[in-house]
Amino acid sequence: MATLSLDKVSKRFGETEVLHGIDLEIADQEFVVFVGPSGCGKSTLLRLIAGLEPISGGTLRVNDADMTRVPPARRDIAMVFQSYALYPHMDVYENMAFGVRILGLTKDEIDGRVHEAARMLQLEPLLKRKPRELSGGQRQRVAIGRAITRKPKVFLLDEPLSNLDAALRSQVRLEIARLHREIGGTMIYVTHDQIEAMTLADKIVVMNEGRIEQVGSPRELYETPANAFVGTFIGSPKMTLVTARREGRRFSLSDGGAIEADAPADAKGDVMLGMRPDALTLTRDRTAEGFEAETVYTEYLGNEAYAYVRLADGTMAAVAVPPNEDYGPDEPVRVQARSGMLHFFDPESGRRLRHGSLADERGDFNRVEQARR
């Protein structure tokens, strides 16, 4: 049982503030994933929660108990490091038993816990090996095993899979999901990998430059990004952003054609359009309505294909195309939008503009405000 609550948590290293007032609520048993570009402060936030770095401002509560100044040993939190950080001079058994020993359990209990974890992670044949005699995936499992033997309230994982190859990564990813179901516990997981974030998370926290941009389920983030940053950060290939001039239902690029779309009520004058690859279609018919563009290259992935085109204002846009259609380079084309699949952002602030009725808008707006706060 553990809920976490961060209230205006900030972190300074000397003069530079790297986290600016983070507010975040994490429910019991929740699987939360932090994503964000490199250097945005994900690891730092995790280390603050762990207690490995002192918090410069704000409060951290675990189960309503103030943990802001409590040393890591008494927070009942376990952490899995990107570098695994296994003790090189101890064998697998000792690595996993180290923390439990400190809890002061009896020999039998220690033995029971280590074997339970080893069985769960299929480490039983390896208990007598030293870390250097293990493969990357095995080391990773030992690192996870070391975290679970202490039965902590909260697990922190900092890019735990980034040193593994692709095949192993998806396998260990599944194991982590299974572990979370089996042992429960609140998990906070840092990753660069969108697939990990989307598949594992109950809740994704998108961070940028020491701030939280949006908190929400994978679906919410993908379908209703709160701003242009989240829109481009979640989803692959990336969402294309162009600033277009609005005239009724028409959105036009200067000298670059126009598309038609249902626009949100508060979109005025210039609007930033967010276009995911699957919201766009290509046609070779140069008389058709749409943005004028030239193909640059296509990415063929078997079951899907993406054409990259250059719009009149120089923006590169990714467009999902049927895999059986071939586009050569430098073909003049028209880009059209599927109705209802575009995102609209304020060109200045990047904030999402809303569809639909005024009441809906208010509701949406409040949710987003809450997430931002």
């Binding site: 280390r47 762990a50 207690g51 490995l52 040393p71 890591p72 040993a73 008494r74 939190i77 376990a78 952490m79 490091f81 570098s83 950080a85 296994l86 003790y87 090189p88 001079h89 180290f98 923390g99 400190i102 809890l103 250097r132 070391r146 202490r150």
Partner: protein
């Protein structure tokens, strides 16, 4: 690869092989010669330990009769050799112990905790490397006298510890800085206290560096003649190098007994040295912290 390529490569390999061979051979010859030069005096010392005075003067380099253990018997029964040996082991052992404990603790603090003046502290220790302690013998003597430590083994231990700390702190700080910080953080998350981290994580990993520090302090301390000569008067407190001089009489010296004594004095330190070097090499090859 084409045939031409292959033959050209083979030729190149042969040429460089020959070069490497002559280079290797020269190196080997040099090393063997060096070994011989180093070992020869030691060999003479050991051999002459089995000879009488007369034999030593008539044929210093000849092989002795190894059954003749009278010199060793004389040492065991007629001198305080065993007492000196015990004193040397005590002083050297305690000094090395203090050097390693204090040096490692200081190095850990300097390497890992950010505190005001940590850089200055390291400089202070390193400055100790530049001061030859023997130059300070008179103030040291006065200090020991005022502290009432003259003519105790503790005076030696203090001086040796002070002598060994600078290089040890220097070596250990450098080494501990190379250990990944994540290991300590992991131990912290496992609930370990700072002392437990030091003892269970840092110390075992720092062992190769501690062995280096021990090796490089061991021989000078064991062999030191100067400080015992100045500080120690009591016969029963003397260390080996100092004690062995009593074997040299003013008018006649029993060289056989002296050589036997030297052999016995050098034996333990040589053994320890060999064991430690092996430890050290093991540590180097199996280190692989990542």
């Amino acid at each position: 690869m084409t045939a031409v390529d292959a033959s050209r490569n083979a030729a190149a390999r042969e040429r460089s092989g020959l070069g490497v061979f002559t280079q290797d051979a020269l190196l080997q010859i040099f090393l063997i010669a060096n070994t011989f030069i180093m070992l020869f005096p030691i060999l003479v010392m050991v051999l002459n330990g089995f000879k009488t005075n007369a034999e030593i003067f008539s044929s210093p380099f000849a092989l002795p009769n190894f059954q003749n253990l009278s010199n060793f018997e004389a040492i065991a029964t007629g001198t305080s050799f065993v007492r000196y040996l015990f004193n040397s082991v005590l002083v050297t052992g305690l000094s090395i112990g203090f050097i390693l404990i204090l040096g490692t603790m200081a190095a850990y603090a300097i390497a890992r905790y950010a505190f005001r003046g940590s850089g200055l502290l390291l400089l202070f220790f390193i400055a100790g490397l530049t001061v030859p302690l023997k130059l300070a013998i008179i103030p040291l003597f006065i200090l020991m006298r005022d502290l009432g430590l003259l003519d105790t083994q503790f005076s030696l231990i203090c001086v040796y510890t002070a002598m060994g700390l600078p290089s040890t702190v220097f070596i250990m700080t450098g080494f501990i800085r190379t250990l990944p910080r994540d290991l300590e953080d992991a131990a912290r998350m496992d609930g370990a206290s700072e002392f437990k981290i030091m003892r269970s994580v840092i110390l075992p990993l720092a062992r190769p560096a501690m062995v280096i520090a021990a090796i490089q302090n061991l021989v000078p301390i064991w062999n030191d003649f100067f400080f015992p000569l100045v500080f120690i008067q009591t016969e029963s407190l003397k260390t080996l190098p100092q004690g062995l001089t009593t074997f040299m009489g003013e008018y006649n010296t029993n060289w056989g007994v002296l050589f036997a004594g030297l052999t016995l004095a050098a034996a333990p330190i040589t053994l320890v040295y060999i064991v430690l070097s092996r430890q050290f090499i093991n540590g180097m090859t199996s280190g692989a912290v990542k």
